[in-house]
Amino acid sequence: MQKFTQLNGLVAPLDRANVDTDLIIPKQFLKSIKRTGFGPNLFDELRYLDEGYPGQDASQRPLNPDFVLNQPRYQGAEVLLARQNFGCGSSREHAPWALVDFGFRAVIAPSFADIFFNNAPKNGLLLIQLDEAVLDRLFAEVAASEGYRLLIDLPAQKVTTPSGEVLSFEMDPFRKHCLINGLDDIGITLQDAQAIKDYEVRQAQQTPWIFA
């Protein structure tokens, strides 16, 4: 998992409440055997004018020019501004996979759906909760200035706007620890790597055939 400490990222706004996981990544793409490659189908129904199905060449599909992520000024965005209850619906881990694969490293919204809230950080995606009123202001600022970036400092739990305004956010200490150190469940187990190795050395005496 990619570590998250500081990020100075281009911001894209998705001004829509209750964005569900089906909207983030439609169900026909779940047949995939991979957890990468979902990026081209992130927000598929909003992004393209035709119907999407697995295996298409996305570069040949007609883009919806009105969709925010298709606008030139938001290309390369790493921070997504969103509205309340982002990530509701099914538990598919494909939703954070798709956001990360597209290039997003953080989502800022007034609230997130529970399961998505749990899934996202496991995949290195930082979720930041800020007040609705603050979000209103950020949406307005993004719209007003092209190339709008936010400086996110996870260890300090602060977001700094281009004008120098500093916004603090809450963060569960365990999640923060995992994100900063790039640790998923596996990463946490691997902190015990020495204990695992010691066990193997001990067992190799007892049951050498296991390690043959």
Binding site: I33, I186, T189, I196, P208, W209, F211
Partner: protein, 473 residues
């Protein structure tokens, strides 16, 4: 003198790497079996994180769920798999195993087969091991006094990367089966009777050890059949103590220890049984002599009855929940209350799956079939050996000829009609006598009606065209 321990306690204790404060433990995994369906995203995850398998030699893979079983499709290897999704999954397993250097028995390797048949057959499943696989029927391997259970895709990745799992210890349940089985009654009938007795949630939260004279007298194949279905009784883990039968089976298999190590292993394995005086949290006893051949009539493995019995009447249900589930099951299965089980007519017969596709199962079916013909009302009767080696052995014994002469199709190894991920499936409304382990709605095909039975009972049903007591056959 240490406390007397159960077999499960011993296996657990020997594999704890680290006890955690929250009551969980980091448990070491000796053997990891992989197949094409639940592994691709785990490999992908490893790759993304830049990790590699912790201990390559712990892993063994083979495709089984999606492989076609007709010679026509199998002749071309992977590229011959007609269904695209299936082909890609099998190909992906090949590519991942090649890339990471994991031993794989590929589609046309004679050692390929259902992962739970292949592990024991190769001696990759050994007594005293912890063993996991991304498949719930991993319980099968507990027949070798191994701590074995199924895991999900994220845990497949966890095991690949760390050779460990974070686990919480289960409780101990003993299923004591004493006495002598009647002729014609098999391991499958024991486990169906157990599930009928304790229900599909009876073992939830427990490691389920099977013991008693009836279990001791079973072959390894029979013990595997029993442990395979522990999961259908709600237990993730089934167990049988290690004894001479176990050692005789394991000795000389390709992955088994040899020479000096064998002697050391044998001494270690002989301790793999529950100590006398060890306490179980729950005990269930059954009289083997009283068990009849079993037939499932409903859509859950606990909906089972002896062949002399009848389909139950919802009016006799103990409560409203049971009544409703019986009504729903009878409707789905197209059966009448109080209908005799021998009146159920079969459209298809399937002998196979990780429950009953080993050589002993095929022999038991062949004995019944020999010199007889499949009833003309039966549209299809399939025999799908559990592995290429089982198939080879059966052919060496001439069993294939017995099946083919009777009108059975003799197929290539795989999961096949057990879960209908390939082309082998039931049509809507069709009744199937199946030696597999799950009779859920749609399991063997949309609208299909599965009846779980032993290989001998399936064989007899194929000949008669309806269920019949194999003891009178």
């Amino acid at each position: 003198m240490s406390q007397p321990r159960t077999l499960y306690d011993k296996l657990w204790d020997a594999h704890v790497v680290k006890q955690r404060e929250d009551g969980t433990a980091l448990l070491y995994i000796d053997r990891h079996l992989l197949h094409e369906v639940t592994s691709p995203q785990a490999f992908e995850g490893l790759r993304l994180a830049g990790r590699s398998p912790w201990r390559l030699g712990a892993n063994l893979a083979t495709p089984d769920h999606n492989v076609p079983t007709t010679q026509k499709e199998r002749a071309q290897g992977v590229s011959g798999i007609e269904d695209e999704t299936s082909r890609i999954q099998v190909q992906t397993l090949d590519e991942n195993c090649d890339a990471f250097g994991i031993t794989e028995f590929k589609i046309n390797d004679v050692r390929q087969g259902i992962v739970h048949v292949v592990g024991p057959e190769q001696g990759a499943t050994l007594p005293g091991m912890t063993l996991v696989c991304g498949d719930s029927h991993t319980a099968t391997h507990g027949a070798f006094a191994a701590l074995a259970h199924g895991v999900g895709t994220s845990e497949v990745e966890h095991v690949l990367a760390t050779q460990c799992l974070i686990q919480r210890k289960m409780k101990n349940l003993l299923i004591q089966v004493d006495g002598r089985l009647q002729p014609g009654v098999t391991a499958k009938d024991i486990i169906l009777a157990v599930i009928g007795e304790i229900g599909t949630a009876g073992g939830t939260g427990y490691a389920m050890e099977f013991a008693g004279s009836a279990i001791e007298s079973l072959s390894m194949e029979g013990r595997m059949t029993i442990c395979n279905m522990a999961i259908e009784a709600g237990a993730r883990v089934g167990l049988v103590a290690c004894d001479q039968t176990t050692l005789d089976y394991v000795k000389g298999r390709p992955f088994a220890p040899q020479g000096e190590q064998w002697a050391q292993a044998e001494a270690y394995w002989k301790n793999l049984h529950t100590d006398s005086g060890a306490v179980f949290d729950k005990v269930v006893t059954l009289d083997a002599a009283a068990i009849e051949p079993q037939v499932s009539w409903g859509t859950s493995p606990e909906m089972v009855a002896p062949i002399s019995g009848q389909v139950p009447n919802p009016a006799d249900a103990v409560d409203e929940t049971q009544r409703k589930s019986w009504v729903r099951a009878l409707e789905y299965m197209g059966l009448q209350p109080n209908q005799a089980l021998t009146d159920i007519r079969l459209d298809r017969v399937f002998i196979g799956s990780c429950t009953n596709s080993r050589i002993e199962d095929l022999r038991a079916a062949a004995v019944v079939i020999k010199g007889r013909k499949v009833a003309s009302s039966v549209k299809q009767a399939l025999v799908v050996p559990g592995s290429g080696l089982v198939k080879q052995q059966a052919e060496a014994e001439g069993l294939d000829q017995v099946f083919v002469a009777a009108g059975f199709e003799w197929r290539e190894p795989g999961c096949s009609m057990c879960l209908a991920m390939n082309a082998d499936k039931l049509g809507a409304g069709e009744h199937c006598a199946s030696t597999s382990n799950r009779n859920f709605e749609g399991r063997q095909g949309y609208g299909g009606r599965t009846h779980l039975v032993s290989p001998a009972m399936a064989a007899a049903a194929a000949i008669a065209g309806h269920f019949i007591d194999v003891r009178q056959f």
